[in-house]
Chain length 237, copies 2
DNA sequence: GCGATTTTTCAACGATGGTTGAATTCATGA
DNA sequence: TCATGAATTCAACCATCGTTGAAAAATCGC
């Protein structure tokens, strides 16, 4: 009723979001809060102010909506991460580990600062997907593997003495720490008795990058020492 | 029908699991696979071979079943972690960071090796809980905070130059890496092209402990250097 | 203005969800 | 043997779920 009466206001600055976008945005928020099975299409469409049948029209079904929603920001994130890595490698190649890690994590920080909290919902959703034992691995691979491989190779170049197995596992630790941190579960708030705040993303990111980088270096130094002790066996790729 | 005909076999070794236990075990497996809202009580009780109404009788409702299931292994885990920390501190106090981390993570490794795979289900569930933006922080705090605080203080003693804020955030990174790793999402298998295997928990744990320990040390060294540069401002607890 | 296409609404289908009161069976001790 | 309480079953309540075919409305090209 009262939603198209002024399609173009005098300033024409707000193009009145399409129903498709409204569905995606509400679904993103609710999926992040309660998971895929914790939200009904009716709740999503009710809050978005649209008919349920529109989900079928635009996304085929509930899974299609979920996929579209994941893909949308994954594309943005992949582009920003890729560009950040390009800049880092253009400056130094091989680049310092810290710079590579930062290229991977800083885009998340950029998205999440500011008053637009919709990215926080997405990261909360991503943390759940990443940690889902049933289809988490598949889904994350589908959206992020090509780009992650670029980072893996950059890290391997930065740490030539490392085994690829080391790099993969260290990336896994990074992935776990990163997704949990940006999931904003507020666990740390109560654990620390108010000393730390989940929402203080700059503060935690400032610590995360050197933390992860030191972990990478440590494992690779260990491997190098191992190799120096028994220089006969070579297992690098 | 055919489930109580031999209450005590000749060897009397298998006391025929109670219906209550059967419900818990099946629920644990299914919740781990598909999350709290992805499984119905009817599916759980059907697979357990019991009546749906028993859930109300034993656990009041679905949430009660979920709580009971989380509490059961949390108690075991808390005890084993506590004892491991006791042993470490009895040997050295303050203890090396590596030993404290290991006391926190090794119990998970012990549970998960061997043919009894039920602990893997629990850890998969725990990863989802830990990363749930809505109630993950609360639930994890409820079951694990008292013990985690013991570890936090041990870490603070091991790293006297650190701020408590540093310790809390570094623990957060540990928590994210640990839960994702033991969630066994098989992401790393496809990412690494078969070079790494999620189920090879000994291999990954061997890397995780020094990785995390190096992260802790790095952050604290950074803080110490900061303090040395500007020795006037003191913010330690 | 009009036909064609896209977009939106409506109403309903069949299935399944968590929960529950009451009836029934079982175990135990007197 | 029987009464008591615990354990289990049965049947149903009411609400909601995802999905869908077909009609209605809005939009666009001409």
């Amino acid at each position: 009723m009262a939603k198209t009466e002024l399609k173009l206001g005098m300033a024409a600055k707000k193009p009145r979001k399409s129903r498709k976008d409204r569905i995606i945005e509400v679904a993103e928020k609710l999926f992040a809060q309660r998971g895929f099975n914790g939200v009904s299409l009716r709740e999503i469409t009710r809050e978005a102010g649209v008919d349920v049948a529109l989900v079928k029209y635009y996304f085929d079904n509930k899974e299609g909506l979920f996929d579209a929603l994941l893909q949308r920001r994954a594309d943005i994130l992949n582009r920003e991460r890729g560009e950040a890595l390009d800049r880092v490698l253009a400056r130094n190649n091989p680049a310092p580990v810290e710079d590579i890690i930062d290229a991977f994590t800083h885009p998340l920080l950029n998205e999440v600062v500011g008053e637009d909290s919709t990215w926080r919902d997405y990261f909360g959703l991503l943390a759940q997907v990443n940690n889902n034992p049933e289809w988490g691995g598949q889904v994350m691979s589908k959206y992020f593997d090509p780009l992650v491989r670029r980072f893996i190779y950059a890290l391997k170049d930065a740490l030539p003495e490392a085994d690829m197995v080391d790099i993969y596992w260290c990336y896994h630790f990074l992935s776990g720490a990163l997704t949990l941190t940006f999931a904003d579960t507020r666990r740390i708030d109560s654990l620390s008795g108010g000393l730390c705040h989940s929402a203080d993303f700059e503060s935690v990111h400032k610590r995360m990058v050197p933390f992860i980088a030191a972990g990478f270096r440590s494992i690779c130094a260990e491997r190098a020492a191992e190799r120096a002790a028994t220089p006969s066996t070579e297992t690098s790729s």
